[in-house]
Amino acid sequence: MRIRGFVVRIIRQLFRDKRTLALMFLAPILILTMLSLVFSSEDYEPKVAIVDVPKPLEAKLDVSGFESYEHKDEALEAMKDGELDGYVTFDDPSTPDIVVEGSDPSVNGAVMKKVQTLFPSQSLNLSDRVTFLYGNEEMGMFDSFGPVLLGFFVFFFVFLVSGVSFLRERTTGTLERLLASPIKIWEMVVSYVLGFGIVTLLQAALISWYAIYILDMMMAGSFFNVLIVIVLLSFTALTLGILLSAFAKNELQMMQFIPIVVVPQIFFSGLFNLDTISEWLSWIGPITPLYYAADALRDVMIRGFGFTDLLIDLAVLAGFSLLFITLNVAALKKYRKI
């Protein structure tokens, strides 16, 4: 009897909180769907070019599916712009040279496979003839995923901690007391950004240092640039966390934003090749902060880009923060009624 009563109570409680119920049933479906769309998409077709093929050789090769460039400088430019994953040059007609972009090991492999189709009969050892624009042949999956994961974990924890701490301001009544004090709404939001900003700076420095110098994650650029990207990313996480905490009644409901707001970002931030994601989902990436942060982190850590090359990504991240700060101020102004 006691157990029955207990079970009834638990089920009643669960059904009273419709959101937790929806999360339990729908969130796994959502994530599974995303995973299936990400993984079942067709194999990545690398964009490979042949450069200045000697006429007699061209007749013998099957060049369908390859782009063609007159000069290797043009091909190099196209690669830097992200239009090419690799190209083949024929300075010595008997032994082709291959250049790959190099920042994603799975794409490198796909390029090699495709180049191999050019020479089906010859037993050339192509891997000796490869040069990398970025990265090197020893770069592993972790070096390629690393920058994305680094960004992801910083985003994840800053989002959660800032969201929960602001939620507590509301649930413990301290927000009400703040509203009845002379502090201005924008001062509250800015205080949160600064307070967490300082802690985040330390967190970012420690995690980046650990990943790069202890875990030996590939690092071609400057540590300072990595910090700038991560701090800007954590500002977006922080301001988004505070904003969304207004839509949560308790800590559990704050957790429920993880599969909806945080996890999907990882699918669209370059951990999986963005070109293979279904067409109708591809718009999601560019509206998530992690997309830009991951791009910038890869630029610094794998491609060794300098500060000026990151400006667009950094500007977009700063823009996200400003947008969320503005929305926060607007949302909190509704609490202060006079």
Partner: protein, 242 residues
């Protein structure tokens, strides 16, 4: 004396529930005004309307003769809510220092005020203890100390003495008297009858209406009863919780 707060024909409803119905009252500068009524009678809602934490459905509230404005109102009031709005991880002193910073208290003044208010609520020995180690009554007293910290002109205290023992409660009331002598105005809600008797004037709230607003003695004479409690019993038979 001048009315520092004027409440005119104030009504408030949440969805379908009418919490306050046409409440009018004046609170004069330098008095201790008690709001008394059974739970659910609208005391907390009335306090929140007076300090602009809620907006009225109809009617109006004025502070010193003008409409409520955050910029003018909040620097000069102290508010203690029914729940203890404290940062549990911080010490009592850190909580107080944070509040002092909100009101722009300078360092010397801050130290002096912290000492003064903690003395009044008898928490001085616990200044450096984290709040989560406090008992319920201690938290209540710290909340009161925080509301008093910037020496506000008007104090809004929502059930300030719940969980505080009678001896200490008397000391706290002596403190309220002193504040009144310094010209401070105190609006206080309570359940406790002996506290009601100590107010200069009382507003009796029942079912969202002010049934009486006068000195405790005048109210008892008006209803021909010996205690304030009997007024509620006579007027609809809802007893006041103790």
């Amino acid at each position: 004396m001048d009315a520092i707060i004027q409440v005119s024909n104030l009504s408030k409803s949440f969805k379908t529930q009418d919490v306050l119905k046409g409440v009018s009252l004046d609170i004069e500068q330098g008095e201790i005004y008690g709001l008394l009524g059974p739970s659910g009678s609208g005391k907390t809602t009335l306090i929140k309307l007076m300090i602009g934490l809620e907006l009225p459905s109809s009617g109006s509230v004025t502070f010193k003769g003008s409409r409520l404005k955050a910029k003018k109102l909040y620097p000069s009031i102290g508010y203690m809510s029914q729940s203890d709005a404290l940062y549990q991880d911080l010490t009592a002193k850190e909580n107080l220092a944070f509040t002092a910073s909100l009101y722009g208290l300078k360092k010397a003044q801050r130290e002096q005020q912290i000492e003064k208010v903690m003395e009044m609520v008898d928490l001085l020995p616990h200044l450096n203890k984290p709040v989560h180690q406090f008992s319920g009554g201690m938290k209540r007293r710290l909340s009161l100390a925080i509301a008093l910290l910037h020496d506000p002109e008007v104090l809004f205290l929502d059930e300030p003495t719940v969980g505080i023992d009678p001896v200490l409660r008397k000391e706290i009331w002596d403190g309220f008297r002193k504040l009144k002598e310094d010209g401070r105005t105190i609006i206080i809600t309570t359940h406790v009858m002996d506290e009601a008797e100590r107010c200069d004037r009382l507003g009796l709230l029942q079912h969202g209406e002010i049934i009486s607003s006068d000195t405790p003695a005048a109210i008892k004479t008006q209803y021909g009863v010996g205690s304030i409690e009997e007024v509620f019993l006579k007027n609809g038979g809802v007893s006041v919780e103790n």
